[in-house]
């Protein structure tokens, strides 16, 4: 299926110079649009609009058949500009650009009009109105594309190296995969060793392996790989640059600074265990209330004869699920960020059950209680642990979702009162020598990195991917990838998979010597520019827009100058330019004028 460039392609490529022949395609989106909007009417109205040569409607424009229509019309019917009225451009703009390219037309001679989010979905109770709006928006799209010049992606040279922030298992897995792919890798780790949260004694779930052994297997390979450079005890004081050319200022363990260059960045900054607030389920009020990681440590270091806390033998232990997870606004106290953690931390149910089992297997005479609300031992191996817990005589209490157990610290015991669904919502009282809080995951504090790179975060505070299915390890900023629990709670296996996915994307990005970027950046008309200097003041991107002195038609002149790799095409500069000397390519003020006029005419 290789596509060879033919004579015909060159003609098609030059076709835009001919009289405009616009093709309009109205997509049904399988009912998402056509259930509300009269797509036939939209197509019909547009067929009468000036410069429109073809107007069609189809069930799924994004499908292969839909795309074939476009290719066919360009190749055989002389179409030189395309408007597609469909879903959000975020979903399929790239899909259709691909179709134009395949047909030999400049991929930017197409306008994507959103009649789903902006018409059918929001006006589902007004079918006629939605149809009229779709017609107006599509006409505006036609006006815009008539004023569109063919654009070419900006190509930036790329450094064939990856900077990985975080030396836990996600960072190490990414490092090994990137290095095997032939990339130079730097790992920046803030602590004194690799391994992150697995750099500890104690067994992990569900494999039952020693945590540090998992970390060691990876770190041995990382440390012996000549393509990987590890910066331990390092701090990142600044990150600048752009995709292909990031620059990280790294403060090394010896206090000296080093500049690290990278074509891509992998964020493997990991998680911290939730730290309960003082008094939350008795935490911080007595040493008899501990977190799950603290308990793991205690169990690991206990002798074979007895489990002891502060020198006292423990004969009963209670585990509490969902501490710092699945919190409810108004019931739970907000954290430092002023918000509660609404999310489920995914791994705690399994970890708690696994710890409780190991406790019971080491000290069968200890009574073990487990207070949960939904037992989320998802996955194949996990359910076995839950069953084992019942066989181990662990006693379960199921609290209603909105109820919170009350914890009182007694002289020698911890007293827990909870409603129990399993016994008809009866109030139960549990006395235990030790209460273990099943603490969840929180993203590590990386606010400085978030600030340097302007990274998006989701409402739960973890880094936010573009789309969980379409672009699951990418953020909106080009060249930055997510690996592991920086993105959200995951177990070890899931983390390793995510890290490899981040690597495959970074490797693909850096597989050619230069990276194509969208051409929607500010462009200066140097003849019109008066050199007033207003626009750089509006620019939010360091280095994207500066004033320079240069020769314009034989005269020395002060003009605005854009670095296209840094410009994000926001248009703040265009808004303040009185002579209209600066414009965002593909979104010029003339285009906006024409679109507004087309809509206002109705």
């Amino acid at each position: 299926m290789s596509e060879q460039i033919t004579e015909k392609d060159h003609t098609i490529n030059e076709n835009y110079r001919q009289k405009p022949k616009v093709a309009v395609y109205v997509c049904h989106c399988g009912g998402n649009i056509s259930d509300i909007i009269d797509v036939k009417k939209v197509a019909e109205e547009l067929s009468k609009y000036p410069n429109v040569a073809i107007s069609r409607e189809y069930a799924f424009m994004c499908s292969s058949t839909g795309q074939d229509y476009i290719v066919e019309d360009i190749r055989n019917n002389g179409i030189n500009r395309v408007v597609i009225a469909a879903c959000s451009p975020a979903l399929h703009e790239l899909t259709f650009r691909g179709a134009l390219s395949r047909a030999g037309l400049n991929p930017y001679l197409y306008e994507h009009v959103n009649i789903r989010e902006q018409a059918s979905w929001v006006h589902k109770n007004d079918k006629e109105g939605a149809t009229l709006k779709a017609i107006s928006l599509t006409k505006a799209g036609v006006e815009k594309i008539l004023r569109q010049d063919p654009l070419n992606s900006i190509r930036v040279e790329a450094v064939r190296g990856v900077a990985i922030i975080g030396g836990g298992i996600a960072g190490m897995r990414s490092a090994l995969s990137c290095a095997d792919n032939g990339l130079d890798v730097s790992i920046m780790e803030k602590s004194g060793s690799l391994g992150g949260n697995l750099n500890r004694k104690g067994k992990v779930y569900p494999s039952g392996k020693e945590a540090f052994e998992i970390a060691n297997e990876l770190s041995k390979k990382v440390l012996s790989n000549p393509k990987i450079k590890v910066y331990l005890n390092s701090e990142i004081s600044f990150i600048g640059g752009y995709v292909g050319n990031f620059q990280l200022n790294v403060k090394k363990s010896d206090g000296k600074f080093e500049k690290v260059k990278a074509g891509a960045i992998i964020m493997a900054t990991g998680f911290s265990h939730y730290k309960p607030q003082k008094g939350e389920y008795g935490f911080g009020l007595a040493d008899r209330v501990v977190t799950l990681p603290e308990f793991e440590n205690l169990l690991e270091n206990s002798g074979e004869k007895a489990l002891e806390i502060s020198g006292k033998k423990v004969s009963s232990v209670a585990f509490m699920h969902c501490v710092g997870s699945r919190q409810i606004d108004g019931i739970d106290a907000p954290g430092k960020n002023g918000k509660v953690n609404e999310y489920c931390s995914r791994i705690c149910c399994g970890s708690i059950i696994s710890s409780a089992n190991r406790l019971k297997e080491k000290f069968p005479e200890i009574s073990v209680f487990d207070i949960y609300t939904d037992m989320r031992t998802y996955g194949m191996e996990h359910e076995k642990y839950y069953k084992k817990a019942s066989e181990n005589d662990i006693i379960f209490f199921r609290r209603p979702l909105e109820e919170r157990p009350k914890v009182e610290i007694g002289v020698e015991k911890v007293n827990i009162k909870t409603k129990d669904v399993l016994t008809m919502n009866e109030e139960m009282e549990i006395e235990a020598d030790l209460l273990v809080l099943g603490t969840g995951m929180e993203p590590n504090d990386i606010s400085d990195l978030v600030e340097y790179l302007k990274l998006p975060r989701s409402s739960d505070g973890f880094l936010q991917e573009v789309h969980p299915k379409l672009r699951p390890v990418e953020v909106a900023n080009n060249g930055i990838f997510l690996a592991g629990t920086a993105q959200g709670p995951m177990d070890i296996k899931e983390t390793l998979q995510a890290a490899n996915t981040a690597s495959v994307k970074a490797a693909a990005l850096l597989s050619s010597p230069d990276i194509p970027l969208d051409p929607f950046v500010a462009v200066v008309d140097e003849d019109k520019c008066t050199g007033c200097g207003l626009c750089p003041k509006e620019c939010s991107y360091e280095g994207a827009l500066i004033m320079i002195e240069k020769d314009v038609k034989g005269k020395k002149k002060k003009v605005a100058s854009v670095n296209p790799a840094l410009c994000k095409g926001c248009g703040a500069c265009a808004a303040v330019c009185e002579p209209r000397a600066i414009n965002v390519a593909g979104w010029t003020l003339d285009q906006f004028d024409a679109m507004v006029e087309a809509i206002a005419k109705e």
Binding site: G30, F60, C62, T95, N181, D374, E383, K493, E494, A498
Partner: protein, 430 residues
């Protein structure tokens, strides 16, 4: 059987569902040649038949069709659809696979997808794409956005009336077409063979597939799909709009009595999602989910579950013991409500959806020596180092072939398997 044709590629991917396609795209993007082999007539797998997907509620087609189109247009990705893998052998140079391309009884290179054959065919059959809820013709293109857009003739149901052959403008109906044997040489294999849902008949107490208004979760997906069989939600027995719909959770998971003790990871969330979609399309209907634990563990899933509760969907902690029906085919559930002391009671619903679990689709791996886990899913040989590796060097796995999981997790695994395959290809240099 016609003669052997031979193809060579870097990576042979078995299965072209979301896992297979994503792996193909990632390997193709890295510069290697990929062949996908798909047993169904179209690429796209199960995902293309779903309605909307959690937690973003994007329509499944909106996510799947671009991946289908991208893999079919990718210069380094080729797909054999309607083809079965007979066997795969490990050789000194990698792997050699034998594929049987089943006859569509249509000359593929000539067909222009005009659908005239389909329109003219007088034979109506149950449509497997609609999981039996709709009808199709004995010769038909499998579904609207199928790739390739080629009809398949069901030889066993065709009455040889030649109506299709008469209307075909390209004269490409070929009743004598034979299966074709194809040999593929590859350096790596990716097992992305996916899942099947547990059969309706798995649990006799739940009607064993006999009760007409007890439907499967995939049927419910089709009822809710924007381009589904009826365009709205109707119950099968009498076409009535159901006023009360119930979901029975863990109907095929976490149940040792049917040999599936594991949790299938996706059923809670797809039930919550379907319930939300139902309450959108049938605002007056009462929707109840009978569950043991709601396992909303993924990113944004708890918030999604909270949203469903706020929408008024009833979540009832109860184990369903038995399902029967009355004379009007209303469904009667015998349940033990946990909150009310497990006293057995009976409740009636117009329609019931069984939240079935996931089983491996393929268990023999075509003669490859692949270690399985105790439930016949592909086992990872190094789960704590790189989980995409299998017990045979050069063979990688992704998605539900190696255990139940949702779409985001599947896509992550596909990328991971692709990374391992690409780096393996770099290292072997054969």
């Amino acid at each position: 059987m016609s003669e052997n044709k031979e193809f060579v590629c870097d990576s042979l991917i078995i299965g072209s569902g979301i896992a297979g396609m994503q792996a193909a795209l990632d390997i193709g993007d890295a510069g290697y040649n990929v062949i996908m082999v798909e047993k169904s007539p179209s690429i796209g797998g199960k995902m293309i038949s779903l309605s909307k997907v959690f937690p973003t509620l994007d329509c499944a087609s909106c996510i799947t069709t671009p991946k289908m189109a991208a893999s079919s247009h990718h210069p380094r990705v080729k797909a054999f659809t309607y083809s079965e893998v007979e066997k795969i052998e490990k050789t000194n140079e990698g792997f050699e696979a034998e594929i049987i391309k089943k006859p569509r009884f249509v000359i593929e290179s000539e067909c222009i997808s005009c659908k005239k054959c389909e329109e003219s065919c007088p034979v109506h059959l149950e449509d497997e794409f609609e999981f039996g809820l709709g009808v199709k013709k004995a010769i038909s293109i499998p579904f609207t956005n199928a790739i390739p857009q080629l009809p398949v003739l069901d030889e066993s149901k065709c009455i040889r009336c030649a109506a299709c052959a008469r209307v075909c403008p390209k004269d490409c109906i070929d009743y004598l077409q034979k299966p074709e044997k194809i040999k593929i040489k590859a350096k790596t294999i990716i097992l992305a063979t996916g899942y099947e849902i547990t059969p309706m008949t798995a649990k006799k107490e739940y009607g064993g597939g006999r009760l007409i208004n007890v439907i499967s979760s995939l049927q419910a997906e089709r009822l809710l799909a924007p381009h589904g069989p009826y365009g709205k939600v109707l119950r099968p027995s009498d076409g009535k709009i159901p006023d009360s719909i119930a979901y029975v959770q863990c109907a095929g998971s976490r149940d040792e009595s049917i040999g599936i003790p594991y949790c299938s990871r996706v059923c809670c969330m797809y039930a919550v999602k379907q319930a939300m979609l139902l309450s959108g399309s049938l605002p007056l209907s009462e929707i109840t989910i009978y569950y043991m634990d709601i396992r909303a563990f993924g990113k944004g899933y708890e918030q999604f579950y909270n949203q469903a509760r706020a929408m008024g969907i009833n979540f009832v902690k109860a184990k369903v013991a038995k399902i029967t029906e009355d004379q009007e085919h209303n469904v009667i559930l015998r349940i033990d409500k946990q909150e009310e002391g497990s006293v057995p009671m009976e409740v009636k619903h117009d329609m019931v959806v069984l939240s079935q679990g996931l089983l491996p689709s393929n268990k023999n791996f075509f003669g490859l020596n692949i270690e399985k886990n105790e439930y016949d899913f592909v086992a990872s040989s190094k789960p704590d180092f790189s989980p995409a590796l299998t017990s045979t060097e050069g063979v990688f796995t992704a998605g539900t072939a190696c255990g139940p999981k949702d779409i985001p997790d599947t896509i992550m695994e596909a990328g991971s398997a692709a990374m391992e395959a690409v780096n393996y290809l770099k290292s072997v240099k054969i």
